[in-house]
């Protein structure tokens, strides 16, 4: 590359550099603190003097008060995320099949209601939801989180599925009907195979939503053995002298699985979800 060419492209390289620094600095900082010895995390240097896995050993061995239920909390997060994903799929498939294939009267209204629920920010539903969960007796129990997360994920699932299933030709259903297929057989043998990519995207969406949720878990779960990882990390903040190195290491462990899942299914996520989110 010639010097003039380089100079011409210099602004581009500067933009690229700025984007990389902007994106990576908080993550680099997170990992750097996580890898620092517990007492050196307050040094405030750009590079660590020594690198150690000590924090991770402490966490995985549950050898500190603040992380003594780490494995239980991972299990809680996983359970809630997986059950939320499955239930969202069941609820979403049922609703979408009923609306778009069986053409239930009022389907249009239900779609609009779902869209309305999706658009209202979850933070504003949290307070009434908290009180209601108390009345149902679900507080401090995984079911409170599962039902809340399904409630938040289902409207989006229905909306995205409606868009996807509108592209499936109705002739397929009619051909199956002429062959004498029952609605459930059409669901099983025509609808589900064709909708598989969308269902994967929705399942992953609900899984990540539930794993990442902080506010609802923070409100509805309270005892340490019932917490998911997200509010458990928030507990560190209650201490003035919080062990930040430990907290960052726990944060890194918590962030790793959903980040990997996101990248694994990135094509589905971008194709199935963002495309539908904002059109024209």
């Amino acid at each position: 590359m010639t010097a003039t060419r380089f100079l011409e492209r210099l602004p581009l390289y500067l933009v690229g550099l700025a984007v990389a620094l902007w994106t990576l600095l908080p993550i680099y900082h997170l990992l750097m603190i996580a890898l620092s010895p517990p007492d050196k995390a307050v040094a405030g240097d750009l590079f660590p003097e020594t690198v150690t896995l000590q924090n991770f050993v402490t966490i995985l061995g549950s050898k500190h008060n603040l992380v003594q239920h780490f494995w239980t909390q991972i299990w809680n997060s996983t359970l809630i995320a997986v059950v939320t994903a499955l239930l969202t799929l069941v609820v979403g498939v049922g609703a979408n099949f009923s609306i778009s294939r069986l053409r239930i009267p009022g389907g249009r209204l239900i779609t609009n209601i779902a869209l309305l629920t999706y658009l209202i920010p979850a933070a504003f539903l949290a307070i009434p939801m908290y009180r209601t969960m108390g009345q149902y007796g679900f507080l401090d129990n995984p079911w409170s989180m599962i039902f809340a997360m399904v409630t938040l994920a289902a409207p989006y699932a229905i909306w995205v599925m409606n868009q996807a299933s509108a592209k499936l030709p109705v002739e397929l259903d009619e051909a199956a009907r002429i062959d004498g297929a029952t609605p459930l057989q059409i669901l099983r043998f025509v609808y589900l195979p064709l909708m598989a990519p969308t269902l994967v995207a929705i399942g992953i969406y609900a899984l990540l939503l539930a794993w990442n949720e902080y506010l609802y878990a923070f409100l509805m779960l309270s005892t340490e053995r019932q917490l998911t990882l997200a509010p458990a990390l928030g507990i560190f903040l209650a201490f003035d002298d919080a062990p930040w190195a430990l907290m960052m290491a726990a944060g890194a462990l918590y962030a790793l699985p959903p980040t990997i899942v996101y990248y694994m299914f990135r094509r589905y996520m971008v194709g199935g979800l963002t495309a539908g989110a904002v059109k024209g």
Binding site: G16, P26, T111, P121, F124, N212, G251, K279
Partner: protein, 291 residues
């Protein structure tokens, strides 16, 4: 044999209709149940809790409330507009077909892919006035005593805006990139032939093609930014002295001090800002849904 066949052919359509109707109702039932139990009932109950005159009186008399309204307006206006303008610019960068740009876009998305708690906490620690990286470097490199980032209202609010933008910028850049990719390339080619400047290309080709998506994005982003609890709560906790609360965190603040009715009143106060945007968006989105 033939008689039997004709018989069933006559019966089946009607039986089939009722069978389909039956399954349609069974299959929609779980969603209707979830919606009734976890949306309709809580919302009605919440309105009943918060709609009393006394809860609104308590809310309006709380000096925090006015500060919160200002904070919310500042937070949403600056965060949304700054984010969308930068995303619009960055979409022009990420459309470039160099291999390193494509790699950079994979890295860029990580802020959106990661859960927000660890990164917000990392930024919070970075800006710790005494031991944080930023003030340390300011002192080491420029001998400047950095400000108390999280203990002063304006810095705290500014950082919350920064954190919000950090997290959601990749998402909106992708959306605008998709809109930009949909513009036919030959439009730009013929503009080049006519000797159009860079500004003219943007003004007369890119912007008209992207304007609708941009406006929808601004609306959707405004709603989501109004509901951003994490960026404020995990960074400043609404402090110092409740000077950085926004509407999304205020309700929870009242809930924590056992004044759920005032909390609901705070949520109800957000509705006049949200509902018009929601209805406008619904009109737009369900129109594209039908196409």
């Amino acid at each position: 044999m033939t008689a039997v066949a004709i018989d069933t052919a006559e019966i089946t359509p009607r039986r089939r209709m009722s069978e389909e109707r039956f399954w349609a109702i069974v299959l929609i039932a779980p969603y209707v149940l979830v919606f009734a139990l976890f949306v309709v009932y809580p919302v009605l109950y919440g309105f009943w809790l918060g709609a009393g005159a006394s809860s609104f009186r308590k809310l309006f008399q709380d000096p925090i409330f006015v500060t919160t309204l200002w904070n919310t307006a500042i937070f949403v206006l600056i965060a949304v507009n700054l984010k969308m303008v930068v995303a619009l610019g960055l979409s022009a960068f990420f459309i470039l077909e160099y291999r390193w740009v494509r790699w950079l876009s994979v890295i860029f998305i990580i802020a959106w892919a990661m859960p927000s708690i660890p990164t917000i906490l990392s930024i919070r620690w970075m800006f710790n006035p005494e031991w944080g990286l930023i003030n340390n470097l300011l002192f080491k490199w420029f001998q400047i005593e950095g400000p108390g980032w999280l203990t002063e209202r304006h810095y705290g609010l500014g950082l919350a805006i920064l954190v919000h933008i950090w997290k959601s910028l990749p998402f909106w850049t992708l959306i605008l990139l998709a809109a930009r990719l949909a513009i036919p390339k030959d439009l730009y080619e013929s503009a080049d032939v006519d000797g159009a400047t860079r500004w003219q290309r943007f003004r007369f080709i890119s912007w008209p093609a992207m304007r609708a998506v941009y406006m929808t994005s601004v609306l959707l982003s405004s709603i989501w930014t109004l509901g951003d609890f994490n960026s404020v709560y995990l960074l400043t906790g609404g402090g110092p002295n409740d000077s950085t609360q926004v509407l999304a965190t205020l309700g929870v603040r009242y809930l924590r001090i056992d004044q759920i009715d005032v909390g609901m009143a705070a949520v109800i106060c957000a509705l006049p800002a949200i509902l018009p945007m929601v209805f406008f968006l619904m009109k737009r989105l369900s129109r594209t849904d039908e196409q």
